[in-house]
Structures are given as structure tokens and as C-alpha cells.
């Protein structure tokens, strides 16, 4: 079975830059990825995209944006899903022998849109919308369930917040503006992510390169919010174990783990779910484990549906020694995670390895 290699990456992350339209930001990110890979648009066989119409404010967003991502007269599919799913599909096409060299891109421009209202619109109109729940409400519910078991733990939560802020501060790729979604008790404003305008792209190929995708894993949970154990993060846990099984590795062998959040508790609680922290120790471990979200996670910038691809790019940069001031010393194996809205109802995991 042919494997899939990563040849380059490009990223434009910022806030409300009026100089450029959304298609122009996408064009810049994809051009940067091509340049990074030293390949030419003419060599591309396939384009796999992640974008969401309500994020873009266009009812078939990819009409205008796909050509900006290099799709002109190419095979192209757009997913309305986290960018890591596009990475996974892109690698499947290469593994199946359908493509030799592909662009995978994802974007979202939080400064143009209306996250609070579009997010509320995903919840059941009959049972949940009357209560004005949104994406961050689900993060609040998850935290409150944890607090019921372990107490508020304000100090360790503050340490986790400070650790994340420190990492994001050292990450030259982080968004500078400080615009966050509103959050409710028990979440604290400092635990919320920072919104960002993101256009991100990677080049995947069949030819060998220093970084290889060695395994993918995916899973999902029920659409009935009331029937899910939010703290158990079942979809995330299963996606990770499937990804590890496919790549024949263990979580201990990962030198880097990029978790999707979006809030600090979402990132930290995942450590308990993945057995990297004992029950109740989530925030302490998050603060002390340097290889968890060295990029700064949601503090460095957040916009659905880009997060999984952002995490993938961070892994790629780390494994190739290009991560700058947040570079880790060990850089053999990394795992990127991405999730869907509704509190990570769907999860994707991709394992990368340096040659």
C-alpha cells in the first residue's frame, strides 16, 4: 500500500486584514504551501478542501473559493468538516493510487462572520435552541461535569491557562488580536480560545519526503446531546486509539500531541481521557507536559473548520525543525487531532512520523 508524504505547508493567520478578500488569503496560503514544497500548480492532481458555508457567509462557498485554492480544472472535493478530515481523504486518494500530488486546504475567517448565531443554529430547534446554547456552552457543560467530580480547582486551572498563554506567546504564528467568544460559568474568559482568520494548506504526495503519514483514525458520537457523556470524549478516544493502531504506535511514543480544544478545559480534560493524566490531574498535567500543544492551542488562534489542519501543520513544522521558538527537542512522532462542532461529536486523528 503506497504511503502518503507531506511535502510542504502554508499558513495565513491574522485578524480583520482589510487588504485582502477571503479568496485572496486562500490563494496566498496555497501559493505558500506550493512554494514550500518546491512544486508547481501544474503538478497537482487533486484538491481536497475543508470549508463551511455558514462560516464563509456564502451558500456554496467553494464556488468562489475552490479556484483560489488551486482547483481550476482539477479533481476537487470540498468537505464541510474539520480540516483534518480533508487531510485524511487526501491521503486516502494517494494511498489508492488516484493522485500523485495534492493540495489540502482549510479556511475560516472569524472576523467576517457571526459565530455566536451560526453556532446556535446547529442545535435542535425544538429542544435546545430556545435556551440559546452554542458551541462554547457545550464546553461549559463538559467542565461542570468534571467540577462535580473534582471540584473547581481554580489554581490548577489558572496554571493551565498561564501555560497555554505562555506557549502561544512564544509561537510566532499566533494571532495577535485578542477577540474571544463569550463563555459562561463555570468557564472563565481566559479559558476561551482566541478567534482568528485562518487560511491553511499542505501539499501531500506519493513521493518520499522527510515526513510521512503513518496512520489515521476516526470516530463519532450520538447526535443527541443529552445521551452523551461529554467528559468521556468517546469519539476523541476512539479516533486516537484507531490512529495509533493503524500506525502501530502508542501514545507514549508521541513526542508531540496537538489537541483541538477549543477551551483550556477541553484541551486538558482530553489528557485524562487519553490516560496521560490521572483523574483530577488534567490541569496540572497540561501545565507541566511541554509536548502538549506547544503551539498554544486555542490561544494561538481558533476558527472552525481549520483547527485540525492547523494542528497537522504544527506537527509538520515540529517534525521538520521549523517550529521556531516553540520547537521541541524530540521530533520523531507526532499526532494531530481535529474535531467537529457540537462538542467534538466527530473526531479525527492523524499520526505523522519523521523519516
Amino acid at each position: 500500500m503506497p504511503r502518503c508524504f507531506v511535502h510542504g505547508a502554508g499558513l495565513r493567520m491574522g485578524w480583520a486584514d482589510m487588504q485582502f478578500s477571503l479568496p485572496e488569503l486562500i490563494y496566498q496560503a496555497v501559493s505558500a504551501a506550493l512554494e514550500d514544497s518546491r512544486r508547481h500548480i501544474g503538478e497537482i492532481d487533486s484538491v481536497v478542501l475543508s470549508a463551511h458555508d455558514l462560516v464563509d457567509g456564502r451558500s456554496l462557498s467553494s464556488m468562489v473559493t475552490a479556484p483560489a485554492a488551486g482547483a481550476y480544472l482539477k479533481e476537487e472535493i470540498r468537505l464541510a468538516e474539520d480540516g483534518l478530515a480533508a487531510v485524511s481523504l487526501g491521503s486516502a486518494q494517494i494511498e489508492a493510487g488516484e493522485a500523485e500530488l495534492s493540495i489540502v486546504a482549510a479556511w475560516g475567517r472569524a472576523s467576517e462572520g457571526d459565530h455566536e448565531h451560526t453556532s446556535r443554529a446547529m442545535l435542535d430547534p425544538f429542544m435546545l435552541q430556545p435556551f440559546a446554547l452554542d458551541e462554547l456552552s457545550i464546553s461549559s457543560l463538559r467542565l461542570s461535569e468534571w467540577i462535580a467530580r473534582h471540584g473547581e480547582c481554580r489554581e490548577s486551572r489558572q496554571r493551565a491557562v498561564a501555560a497555554r498563554a505562555g506557549r502561544a506567546g512564544r509561537n510566532s504564528r499566533s494571532v495577535q488580536a485578542n477577540v474571544r467568544p463569550r463563555v459562561e460559568f463555570p468557564l472563565h474568559a481566559s479559558e476561551a480560545p482566541r478567534f482568528a482568520d485562518v487560511a491553511a494548506a499542505v501539499i501531500l504526495g506519493r513521493q518520499e519526503s522527510p515526513v510521512c503519514i503513518t496512520g489515521v483514525g476516526h470516530s463519532a458520537e450520538s447526535g443527541e446531546l443529552g445521551s452523551r457523556k461529554l467528559g468521556a470524549m468517546r469519539a476523541l478516544r476512539e479516533a486516537v486509539s484507531r490512529g495509533l493502531a493503524a500506525s502501530r504506535t502508542t501514545i507514549e511514543q508521541m513526542h508531540l500531541l496537538q489537541l483541538p480544544g477549543p477551551t483550556v478545559p477541553d484541551e486538558a480534560l482530553a489528557l485524562e481521557v487519553l490516560d496521560l493524566a490521572a483523574p483530577g490531574e488534567a490541569f496540572e498535567m497540561y501545565a507541566s507536559l511541554a509536548h502538549i500543544n506547544p503551539s498554544g492551542g486555542g490561544e494561538s488562534g481558533w476558527c472552525f473548520p481549520t483547527v485540525g489542519l492547523l494542528n497537522f501543520i504544527e506537527c509538520y513544522l515540529q517534525l521538520t525543525g521549523q517550529a521556531g521558538d516553540v520547537q521541541l527537542a524530540d521530533r520523531q512522532r507526532a499526532m494531530a487531532l481535529g474535531v467537529s462542532p457540537a462538542g467534538a461529536q466527530i473526531a479525527h486523528a492523524v499520526v505523522l512520523e519523521a523519516a
Binding site: A16, M18, S21, E24, G57, G70, Y72, S111, D114, H117
Partner: protein, 156 residues
């Protein structure tokens, strides 16, 4: 279950967006407003003059150059006469069509006014001949695509 017992709940989607036109499109719109001119940009690779102005050519995937004045005359390539009221759209009848302006290699969309629409089939037949049109700018311009319309060069 009887229809009377089935429940529906009304909903209205009303999301606010603010689209950034970017510097290139902004310059295009400013030229409509302040100069009453329609500009295109040129792709260095394929040589096409793209109207409305774009900062990159998506066919060649390279940046464009130059700032080229096109029109005001051009050819009406295709059109339609909207004859029915659609919710949220302007009252009929009206003509919209794509026009390749003189000096441009791509066509631009706008309304075509000054056409007798008393008999739609007759009007359509006349416009089918790929007539020449001219961009006519309104006196009050706002820097939007609606600052101009096309009018036939010789009355049909």
C-alpha cells in the same frame, strides 16, 4: 397522525456578515465611484485582461499586473429577461446579461436597461444578436457594481 396534530416551529435565519472586498476589489469599486470607469487587471502568464479586476489569475495561479481601463463599449454575450417575481429579488421584468467590454478578455455581469420589454419574445430575439452595449453610469454613485448599467448602443 392527523395533519392538525403535526407541529411546525417557525424560524428565521438572519446572520450578519461583513465581507472584506480586499484592496483590489476596493480599488475597482472606488474607480466606479470616482472615475466612472471599469478597470481590469492582466495575467502575466496567459495575458488575459480580467474584468472585474482580480489580484490573481485562478487559471494560471499567478498574480496579475497592471490596471487597465476597459469599455465603456462592449458586446452583450448572453442575457436573460427575468419575468417573474422571486421573493427577495427586484420586481420584473428586467434584463441581466454578461458583457465583454472592449479591451477585456472576460465578461462582466450587470443589468441592461433601455430595452422595450412590452413583448418579451420580441425583445429576446433582438438581444440574441449579440448587440453592442455601453456602460452608463448613474450620477449618484456609491462604489458598488450597481453604479452602472448597460444600454444598447443603437435602440433595439
Amino acid at each position: 397522525m392527523a395533519d392538525n396534530d403535526l407541529i411546525t416551529i417557525p424560524g428565521l435565519w438572519n446572520f450578519q456578515y461583513n465581507y472584506f472586498a480586499g484592496a483590489t476589489a476596493s480599488r475597482f469599486f472606488n474607480a466606479l465611484r470616482h472615475e466612472a470607469r471599469i478597470y481590469g487587471t492582466q495575467c502575466a502568464k496567459c495575458g488575459r485582461v480580467l474584468v472585474p479586476a482580480r489580484s490573481f489569475c485562478d487559471a494560471c495561479f499567478v498574480e496579475t499586473q497592471g490596471w487597465i481601463h476597459t469599455g465603456p463599449g462592449g458586446v452583450l454575450e448572453i442575457f436573460t429577461i427575468v419575468a417573474t417575481q422571486f421573493p427577495g429579488l427586484p420586481p420584473p421584468p428586467f434584463v441581466i446579461g454578461y458583457v465583454t467590454l472592449d479591451g477585456a478578455d472576460t465578461a462582466i455581469l450587470n443589468r441592461v436597461e433601455g430595452v422595450d420589454l412590452g413583448d418579451i419574445d420580441v425583445a429576446a430575439k433582438k438581444l440574441m444578436a449579440r448587440v453592442r452595449v455601453t456602460a452608463k453610469f448613474s450620477d449618484e454613485r456609491q462604489g458598488r457594481i450597481t453604479d452602472f448599467v448597460f444600454v444598447p448602443q443603437s435602440p433595439p
